[in-house]
Symmetry: none
Subunit: 198 residues, 4 copies
DNA sequence: CATGAATGAGGATTCATTCAT
DNA sequence: GATGAATGAATCCTCATTCAT
């Protein structure tokens, strides 16, 4: 005899997908891939366990979808450095990485934790090559405009990337001084630590 | 309810401990803390499941013991840079980190994967402060002898450490060019990437 | 790692709960708390091991739920003596206890076996105080109406309760002659065994 | 090069047996049959796990041996009531039971907990029949000497025994007032609770 | 689309028992 | 006699996945 005259505010499929992904973000980030429980994802998403499986066929697929969605987000975020002045771009790159890590600490942490998960491989390669391309672009611009010295770009770019990534890692690990360290890294990358003689 | 078994006492307790630790190294490194199964550790160690518990009361203790034992190993390994010339020491530091990562890829990978595991905290802090100390020593020496320019050591040291760690991370992640990249990092850290004007 | 199963949803949740409780009754009663295996409860309930945990979060909770449910049952059963004539009430009390023990032998046996289990304490105290109250009521009535002699009720009630409980214990232990012994206890409690002189 | 010049104070086999039995007493009593661990018995006995198996082939046998040894002890303790005056003997019986329960609370508690363990059956029957015999003796004496009224001894004896046992059970369960309750039981058994009319 | 009860393999841990020393 | 490391079955509990409703 119970009738609901006002229709339950139903989610569209897309809403549900989004909710699940958002919940997955929290749960995976908080406990790692192995430690994450589908039930927790379901609870946090306000959906039933079975409901998840309508949108994602396995835990693995859910995880991958999460990574994909976050990567898009990140690429958009980092893209803005593309048409800045070289030195400025480098600074912006470092800051962007660190900002992103601050905003999405748990996700970046997750990437680290699952850095060698086999299923991540294709996605990871996509990501790396795109990041390397951006940095190569910056270095090339700098050399072309005479701001940066002559370097073998293909060797230098990965190293610059490493340094930036290392800073992020330190932030995740120790958690302090993101701002001050980004300044310092910028300065060291530009000038080195050696005394300029002559 | 009646159980009958036939124990095989072939090893000394110390042997078993070592075997278990070695097996734990492989299993934890390969699958992370949560993903590692005690049964797999046992199989790989050539001991029974119960046998592990004679030497390590819980999975957590086993993991911690593994970390402790490896940290000692690493500290010994890295200690040799202490009394080198500053620039040389920096190069040696980078190489040592990378060498270690090459030799013990899976272990270093494990550190990354479990970088935020609560139980690791005390051990991690010990490690970090000891590494920072070493680098501060190198920088100080360099400044004292006029090889390095004036820097705020307390800000520079963590950044240098970050860069080295970033390189290790890249090696783990992409796996190529350890040698060539270590050269490049050394050079960039010393000279920066900017054109020296004047 | 991949699991595929085929659940059989034939019962309502309430049915399952009831089935599990019934199975728990048998298993706990038969083997005691420590000796009881969740798997056996599951098998007997016609449910999977995991299924139990949907309704009862731990073995301890299952046990407690069982005790609670049975205590309610018993209190209903014993309540009817409240408004009888004193002597009649005493007889009914003895009979009720014994009847209950006959009907639910294994459960009462379980109470005995786990009489000092820490987790039972609150429940036990509830039970004891309620039983003592009933008996004090009977004795008071009897004294008021002059059927029973003057006694210190607070001392007598626990002893009467002990005697009844002892009879139950004997039934559980030896298993014979419930009927005849209840008569005898009634008579001895009323008249004692001493020769009435004068 | 370590020599022990003074010979280790070695135990004889009998000593070890006794130590094990004493340890078993504590462990079994404290945790019940299923909950008791052989290792704990060993530790408490100051012997190795394997050592126990020299004296007792299984856990079950150890338990039985414990019961046997304690039963002998009890029979000796209770035997002294045999040649007292009837009423006095009854009082002594109640007190003895209660005293014993006070002294060996945990053991008596164990009997209760494992009261239906199949392996205990033969021992239990032995015990019961001996206790019933003693009580029948007291009642018979009392009737013969005219102190007690005419009763069917075979029906009364088990009931008297039940009452005594019930008192012990109450002591174990609630733990208070052993002294005061034994007085009360004695009085009620002798006189009953009914008003003596006429 | 959504639900959530059900499944059962698998995980960490315990423990009676054995046997080489 | 005595030791204690070793065994492995068994315990409680978790969780990815399925499917009747």
């Amino acid at each position: 005899m119970k009738q609901s005259t006002r229709p339950t505010a139903k989610r569209t499929g897309d809403d549900s997908r989004r909710d699940i992904l958002a919940a997955a973000y929290d749960v995976f980030a908080g406990r790692g891939y192995a430690g994450a429980a589908m039930r927790d994802v379901a609870n946090r998403a306000g959906i039933s366990v079975g409901g998840i499986y309508i949108y994602f066929p396995t835990k693995e697929e859910l995880y991958l979808a999460l990574l994909r969605s976050e990567m898009e987000d990140f690429n958009l975020y980092i893209g803005r450095v593309a048409d800045m002045e070289p030195a400025q771009a480098l600074k912006a790159l470092i800051d962007s990485y660190l900002d992103y890590a601050v905003r999405k600490t748990k996700l970046v942490s997750l990437h680290l934790k699952e850095h060698d998960l086999e299923i991540r491989k294709p996605l990871k390669e996509l990501f790396l090559s795109s990041q390397h391309r951006i940095i190569r672009g910056i270095l090339q611009d700098g050399m072309d405009s005479g701001v940066f010295r002559k370097m073998e770009i293909d060797r230098a770019a990965p190293v610059v990337f490493s340094c930036v990534r290392g800073l992020v890692l330190s932030y995740l690990s120790e958690g302090q001084g993101a701002g001050t360290q980004s300044e310092m890294l910028y300065e060291i990358l530009l000038n080195g630590i050696m005394e300029k003689t002559g």
